[in-house]
Symmetry: C2
Subunit: 195 residues, 2 copies
C-alpha cells in the first residue's frame, strides 16, 4: 500500500527549521490512527473537530439522499488532507460522511490544538492558508468541469489525472463522483474501450 510521510509533505509546502518542526509537534500533538475498512472518520450528525493527513488508504466523502442513495462528493488518497471545512468553520453537526474504503492510516490533529498552534506559532497559519488555497483551486476546477465539460470529457480527465480512482473505488461511486447515472458510466466505459 503506497505511503506518504507527513512531515515530508508539510516541508514541500513551507520550509521549517528542525526546531520549528519540534515546536509544531509539541503544540499540535499529532495522533496516528488506523481506520478499519468502512470505519467513519466523520459521520453525518456528528461534529467535525479535527483534520487528518492520510498516510495510506482511501477516504470517501458522501451524503445520503432521500432514497438512501450515496452521493459521492470526493475521494481522497494518501498524501491528501481530509476534513470537513464547513463543519469546522460553522461548528454545526456535519451533513457529510467521511468513510474509509479500505484500511486507512491517518495522522489526526484536533481543531483545538490547531488553534493553540496558530496563536503561538503564526507561521503554521500560513501553511493552513496555503492548503486551503490549494483545496480552493482544486474544487473550483471541479465546479468548472461539471459546468462546462461533457460527462465523456470528465471521464477522460479523471482517467488521465487520477487513475487511482479506477483501481481503488467501486464503479457506482465513480459514477456519482462524475455526476452521472451508473448506466451512463457503463456506456461511456464501453465507448472508450472501443477506441
Amino acid at each position: 500500500m503506497p505511503q506518504i510521510d507527513f512531515f515530508d509533505s508539510i516541508r514541500r509546502e513551507l520550509s521549517f527549521s528542525d526546531e520549528e518542526e519540534n515546536m509544531m509537534k509539541t503544540l499540535v500533538k499529532p495522533q496516528s490512527r488506523v481506520l478499519g475498512k468502512n470505519e467513519f472518520f466523520l459521520q453525518a450528525g456528528k461534529y467535525c473537530t479535527s483534520v487528518a493527513f492520510i498516510t495510506s488508504g482511501t477516504l470517501l466523502y458522501f451524503r445520503e439522499n432521500d432514497n438512501a442513495d450515496k452521493q459521492v462528493y470526493d475521494v481522497l488518497f494518501e498524501g491528501a488532507w481530509a476534513t470537513y471545512i464547513h463543519g469546522l468553520v460553522t461548528r454545526t453537526p456535519s451533513d457529510m460522511n467521511i468513510q474509509a474504503l479500505e484500511e486507512t492510516h491517518i495522522i489526526e490533529i484536533q481543531q483545538e490544538s490547531l488553534e493553540i498552534l496558530f496563536e503561538q506559532f503564526p507561521k503554521a497559519e500560513r501553511l493552513s492558508r496555503r492548503l486551503t488555497e490549494a483545496s480552493f483551486i482544486q474544487i473550483a476546477q471541479r465546479a468548472a468541469d461539471l459546468q462546462f465539460l461533457s460527462a465523456e470529457e470528465r471521464y477522460a480527465k479523471m482517467m488521465r489525472d487520477e487513475p487511482r480512482l479506477f483501481e481503488r473505488v467501486p464503479q457506482y461511486y465513480l459514477a456519482s463522483l462524475l455526476g452521472i447515472a451508473p448506466q451512463s458510466l457503463s456506456r461511456i466505459r464501453k465507448d472508450f474501450g472501443r477506441i
Copy 2:
C-alpha cells in the same frame, strides 16, 4: 447603487482594535479605484497581482472558449472579495478574465503589500485564511449543485439565494453560469412563469 463599507465588512470577520486597523491601513495601502463599465480588473494573459473588495458594482468572471463564447464562472457584487486565487498562488499569467458589468467601485490591495502585512501582522493572515475558507465552502456547494441538482433546481436556488443576478446580469451570462444553453434557460423561465 448599493454600497458596502470595507472595514465594516472586515470587522464582521475578525475583531481588530483601532490601533490594529490603522496599522493594517498603513501596511497594505488600500487603493480606491473605479472600474468603468466593461473595464477589466484582470485580463487573460496578464498576471493577477492584487485582491479587491467590491464596495459597489458587479464583476464577471469568464473565459472565452474556442468559439469565442464566454463561459461564465462567477459573478460578484458589492461586499465580495475579488481575485483570481489560481493566478496569485501559481504566479502564472491568468487564463481568466474579470470584467466590470457596470461602473464598479473597488478597494484594491497589492499582493506584495499583503505579504508584508502577513509578515508584520500575523493576525491579518487569519483573516485571509477565513476568507479563503468561506470561498471554499461556497465553491464546494456550487460544485455539489452542478453535480446533483437539475438545471431547474439550480435555477430555483439562484432565484432564491441571489436575486441580484436576475436584476443586474444579462440572460446569456446567467445561462452559462448555470451550465446550460440559453434556450434551456428561456424554457425554464417560461415553465417557472407558468407556476
